[in-house]
Symmetry: C2
Subunit: 225 residues, 2 copies
Amino acid sequence: MNRTYKQIQQITLAVDCIIFGFDTDQLEVLLVHRGFEPEKERWSLMGGFVRNEEDLDEAANRVLRNLSGLNNVYMEQVRTFGKANRDPYERVVSTTYSALILKKDYKAEFIKEYRAEWFPIHDLPDLIFDHKDMVVSALQRLQRRVRSVPIGFNLLPGKFTLPQLQKLYEGILGEKIDKRNFRKKLGTMDFLVRLDEKDRSQSKKGAFLYRFDKKKYNKAKSFSI
Amino acid sequence: MNRTYKQIQQITLAVDCIIFGFDTDQLEVLLVHRGFEPEKERWSLMGGFVRNEEDLDEAANRVLRNLSGLNNVYMEQVRTFGKANRDPYERVVSTTYSALILKKDYKAEFIKEYRAEWFPIHDLPDLIFDHKDMVVSALQRLQRRVRSVPIGFNLLPGKFTLPQLQKLYEGILGEKIDKRNFRKKLGTMDFLVRLDEKDRSQSKKGAFLYRFDKKKYNKAKSFSI
DNA sequence: AAAATGAGTGTACTACATACACTTAATAAT
DNA sequence: ATTATTAAGTGTATGTAGTACACTCATTTT
């Protein structure tokens, strides 16, 4: 392979994070407001440049940690955007990563510091460069993935109710789910164990609490909503 | 965003191509033999560095064209490999692209020039760096994708028989498919039109020829094997 | 005692995946 | 001419998973 390119290549490598947030109903995306030129007053994803000694995955985690205070959040690479003119000011290739968090875990102090804001996924402001495409591809991937891997449970407390779980899936998928069919499917998953406790905060009758049994799940590793 | 990284970032950006080939039965991968140090005598994917003015996708197509003579081949980005030490000699981040071609379209002159060779997907030699992981992820993606998008038809001539089509899918998926069930599914797809001709090269009886009607497919755009 | 609220439950129907074996058309061999 | 050979072509029964749909239950409030 030709090593001489190394000297003449001048492409900056960045990461951009699509941070999806959920609290009780709909899915939102965290964007930061640019208070400076170029592209002042527009919105963008949280991003940063990759350091020489750091893994690409690490770079994404660092960006998220620095700009949000969030640590140990599970992130997944989505895809790499590499059009030569995607950033009209300089040549930057950017790899996107997506994360899914609870909105309340994102602290207000960061909102202030970075002029960040949550936007409903179907009501986004104008975004710089190709960041809109980035959000779209990350959302598609998340919606596919959430159906076959139990990532949703990370957003719930250790003990949660089935109505809570259903609202979570409805929020992520952006569609209503039939209660009985949803429960029928979950009923076949033995890693979802019902406790002898109820949560009475949402109703008079109270809803049974469940927990996600990681060990049991790791044995079968099959999940489908 | 901090532009100063640009000056100090020294990461080379590369593309690596996973070229899957098929002729009549099994799926193979095209590898090139390294006749030089470092990593002499080992095998690697076809790769190259991204040029300053070129799209990432273009870079992948250029690499494929230069090393194989193949033009206008449909390639898809798979994922980006960015571990800091994945290449122990220098920091290189590599985006992988996958293509699916007919083995016979890859000309012998290139085999000689680049010491390239086809290997069955489940009988690969020792590969440099993380190229084995690259092949694995590209294969997984191809096998998922070939079930929901009619990419297989690109490998067949304009007129083809159902036994041919079935062998193609069996080769890509690496499993036998029941003839009747396969045909039952295809029977529901009206973009697959039977001609009044037969191909008698494989049997005395002859198999009806079909063609893929792109216009009809584009209307419905639903495909599932 | 009645009303209100959200939790919880079952069944019938439809669509899709799977398993499985013989007949047909044409040629080649005797 | 008869028979053997080869790959192409065809249908049915069974199981499994998805979907649509409406009432009862437990508890609190009025």
